[in-house]
């Protein structure tokens, strides 16, 4: 059985599954239930200065997949709306009761040195394992000069990180906002400020949909709405990319990353870890299904690791990073062509019409004598784009087969067709 325990930026945790800073970690009651369920750690919902924030009603909205399951989630909730004193007391008590679990505290105070100095000291006294600086919250707080308003300015990220590192001995994790053009700039700033780690991503500015009867976005507060923070399975591709960008950037390479964004099961977690994450944070999945999902997450990750012969998390952590590269280094001589398995084909014609209307007219439609149809790839026209495979509803009916396997590796910088070859 694989060993799931980790040490992330000096913080020990029996498994890599942490609950992200959010409603599930807002108070002792929830956090204790989470630990009972088996979560390796939590990032306590963001503390701020008193008086505590005040929330509106309602706060969440969602988009759904074809089966009515939540695929994207949106919230307009602020940081904790409970007093600093109560939160600190509870953090201290919970950490005492659960010494083996990771307890990181998320923080957000105004961009003033004194404010940060004061709060990191208070948190340190609780016995918490680390700090996470919330530079990501996209709604409500930026209007007050906090959250994403800080995270979007690399100089502020660096400055606040440095304050925290100056006034606290605790590991500092900087939570990055995805509402930027290039995540590497804020990640580099965090590193320059002395961050022990970054966590990514926070939620994305979003409007999940419009109620066409009331002509207002959701969630609705007395008929009006505002943009919220997007999360859930739908944001995973964006999050994975940002994690990969940080993992392979020469300046931030090796900086521990806590992966966040749409992680719903062990496979999602494994993907984030393969792109360099040392721990993963989960929120939406727990909010939809409850804390019990960590059971299947641990079990699934462990079984998969056993099947691959990985004994500990670090055995496969970051293995996909070297295979994530810039477009210009992709092999121009690599060619795949679609192949349709006639025995598996059910004749839905989706590959055909997709290719015919929107791609390269590389599929031939033949009507057999009995009136049924057969689809065949015209190899010469196929560019190996994958569209037919994506549209095909049958498992492994369309395979992409490698052609010209004997040609050597040649990337765009070496390609004679590249007019800027010498410059690249």
């Amino acid at each position: 059985m694989a060993d799931l325990s980790i040490e992330f930026a000096g913080i020990k945790s029996p498994n890599p599954f942490w609950l992200a800073s959010a409603p599930p970690t807002d108070k002792a009651y929830n956090v204790e239930r989470a630990f009972e369920a088996g979560w390796g750690g939590v990032v306590w919902k963001t503390l701020g200065e008193d008086p505590a924030a005040v929330n509106v009603s309602s706060r969440y909205s969602a988009i759904y997949d074809h089966n009515g399951e939540v695929s994207g989630f949106n919230n307009i909730e602020l940081i904790t709306d409970r007093s600093l004193e109560i939160n600190l007391k509870e953090i201290e008590a919970v950490k005492k009761a659960w010494p083996d679990r990771a307890l990181v505290v998320s923080l957000m105070v105004p961009c003033e040195e004194e404010s940060w100095k004061k709060i990191v000291k208070l948190v340190e006294q609780t016995g918490a394992d680390g700090l996470e600086l919330n530079f990501g919250c996209p709604h409500g707080m930026p209007e007050r000069g906090m959250g994403a308003a800080v995270g979007q300015v690399p100089e502020y990220v660096e400055m606040v990180t440095r304050w925290c590192k100056t006034y606290s001995k605790l590991p500092v994790i900087v939570k990055l906002t995805p509402n930027i053009t290039d995540i590497r700039f804020s990640a580099r700033a965090a590193k320059r400020g002395g961050a022990d780690a970054v966590s990514a991503i926070n939620t994305i500015n979003s409007i999940t949909g419009i109620d066409l009867d009331k002509m207002s976005a959701r969630p609705m507060v007395d008929g009006k709405s505002t943009h919220g923070g997007y999360c859930g399975p739908a944001v995973k591709p964006i999050a994975l990319n940002m994690v990969a960008e940080i993992a392979r950037d020469t300046e931030t390479m090796g900086l521990p990353i806590s992966g966040i964004g749409g992680i719903s099961n062990w496979r999602d977690a494994a993907e984030f870890i393969s792109l360099g994450s040392g721990s993963v944070q989960v929120c939406t999945a727990a909010m939809i299904y409850g804390f019990r999902i960590v059971t299947e997450m641990q079990q699934g990750l462990s079984n998969w690791m056993d099947s691959k012969g990985y004994k500990k998390i670090s055995d496969f952590q970051g293995l996909a990073v070297p295979n994530t590269t810039d477009w210009k280094y992709l092999n121009m001589n690599y060619k795949v062509v679609a192949d349709i398995d006639d025995d598996k084909c059910i004749g839905c014609g989706r590959c055909y019409i997709a290719c015919e209307d929107t791609s390269h007219q590389a599929i031939d439609r033949k009507v057999r004598e009995d009136g049924s149809v057969a689809f065949e790839v015209i190899e010469d026209k196929c560019v190996g784009c994958n569209l037919c495979q994506i549209t095909c509803p049958v498992d492994s009916c369309i395979k992409m087969e490698q052609k010209d396997a004997d040609k050597p590796y040649m990337n765009w910088t070496q390609d004679p067709r590249n007019p800027y070859k010498d410059a690249s």
Binding site: H66, N67, G68, I346, G347, C348, R350
Partner: protein, 450 residues
């Protein structure tokens, strides 16, 4: 559907109670179920379900509309090809038509999209403002349609849509044909047939005359004279017989007559229901409908007997399963030989001769058996019978009105469709299609002449 959900006049509390006894065998999908089911459709290109649908409804399109929460659009897509889409959704043997062709049968899943139920969901829940279709400019042509069954109604609606004036002549008291009189009560509940007729006539330009029978109240030559064209959709009027001694006995009944009586009954006490045991002879949907309805009415033992094997039955496997679910005993490979009466003249039993096939020929074996019963229902097929009094008779071939492409008969200006013709398998959806095609042919013909 665009019709008031109020019960039409004359629909009594007793009728409602009877309807309750014959609750829908295939309940409607909930909105949630329809949403999930609609997401299963692959939106095939050149979809096989459309090819398999006799009325050529654009099935992937209407399912996509359901999925996009546009039930009105979905229903309009259905109605544009099949104005009886509501009843077809209920009575179509989808298991041998669209759903059999569904590509999801083929993969590991082996479960077709529930097209019939989705069609019903759309037609039941659409919200049109007025009738979904607007009539074209008046052509000043008038067409007579004989028979207000699915073929006649479909033809009339399409003709009216194209701007023609239509008069329908129906022999029975109510329009609807098979949907009103011949389909098992549990398949078309809540007076559906009449609501549907109301909806169809809602397009305007159609005058309905009931209690007007061909060969009695009207004649074809008369109609030919008065109208620009005539469409015959007179269905099947006669039933086959067993050719046995004592067949005229009052306890030997025609299933179609009994089903009609049951469908029209407003009170269960009006029906003569065999208590202990009944035998149904036949292998088609009428036989299944009859047997199952007897079970629902309380007949203790119902035995359905067919002279060949279950694989030869014209009732689909799905229909046979419905019979099994109703605890109907199905006996195959036996043909009725004697009708046995008691001393007091009442029905005692039926003697059956066991059968087998040799080189495809049905043969009698030496064994026979007897089933005691208090009633026998014959469901051995209906046949075409043109009114005897009629002078003008279209060519009949293989016992039905011959059509020569585009629903044309041997008589100039006279078209025919539905069960009275030799086309297809006598399915409602085929009748609808033939009515539609006839309307297009008639319209084309009349306007070409003009």
């Amino acid at each position: 559907m665009v019709m008031s959900m109020e019960q039409p006049q004359g629909y009594s509390q007793q009728q409602l109670a009877l309807d309750q006894m014959f609750k829908d065998i295939n309940p409607a999908l909930s909105a949630r179920q329809a949403g999930i089911e609609s997401s299963r459709c692959y939106y095939c290109y050149d979809a096989p379900c459309v090819t398999a649908c006799p009325s050529k409804i654009n099935i992937p399109s209407f399912i996509a509309s359901i999925h996009a929460d546009d039930l009105t659009g979905a229903a309009k897509t259905i109605y544009s090809e099949n104005i009886l889409g509501g009843s077809c959704a209920r009575v179509c043997p989808t298991e041998i038509l669209c759903e059999q062709a569904c590509v999801r049968n083929k993969e590991q899943e082996k479960a077709p999209v529930k097209i019939g139920l989705l069609q019903r969901h759309a037609t039941d829940n659409a919200k049109f403002v007025g009738h979904p279709f607007k009539r074209a400019d008046a052509t000043c042509k008038t067409i007579a349609v004989v028979g207000a069954g699915p073929a006649g109604l479909s033809c009339a609606h399409r003709l009216a849509l194209l701007g023609n004036e239509v008069e329908i002549f129906e022999a029975a008291e109510k329009p609807g044909g098979l949907n009103e009189y011949g389909i098992a009560k549990y398949k078309l509940t809540d007076n559906f047939a009449q609501k549907e007729v109301e909806f169809i006539l809602g397009i305007g330009g159609i005058t309905l005359h009931t209690n007007k029978a061909l060969g009695k109240d009207i004649s074809l030559s008369q109609l030919k004279e008065q109208f620009d064209a005539v469409f015959l959709a007179i269905g099947l009027q006669d039933v086959h017989s067993l050719m046995l001694v004592n067949e005229a006995h009052p306890q030997i009944l025609n299933a179609v007559d009994y089903i009609k009586e049951l469908r029209q009954a407003s009170d269960i006490s009006e029906l003569d229901v065999p208590k202990d045991s009944a035998v149904v002879i036949g292998a088609g949907n009428t036989a299944i409908d009859m047997a199952c309805q007897l079970k629902r009415l309380g007949t203790e033992e119902v035995t359905l007997v067919y002279r060949r094997g279950s694989e030869h039955m014209s009732a689909t496997e799905h229909e046979q399963q419905i019979a099994k679910d109703h605890e109907v005993r199905i006996k195959t490979w036996a043909r009725p030989e004697h009708i046995n009466l008691k001393d007091d003249g009442s029905l005692k039993s039926l003697t059956f001769r066991k059968t087998y096939t040799e080189d495809g020929q049905l043969k009698d074996s030496e064994d026979s058996f007897e089933i005691n019963c208090s009633a026998v229902f014959k469901a051995v097929g209906q046949k075409f019978a043109y009114p005897k009094a009629e002078q003008l008779i279209p060519t009949v071939s293989n016992g039905k009105i011959a059509t020569f492409g585009q629903q044309v008969t041997s008589i100039d200006g006279v078209y025919a469709g539905g069960d009275c013709t030799g086309e297809g398998q006598d399915l409602t959806v085929e009748a609808v299609q033939q009515g539609k095609l006839a309307a297009l042919a008639i319209h084309h013909q009349l306007n070409q002449e003009a």
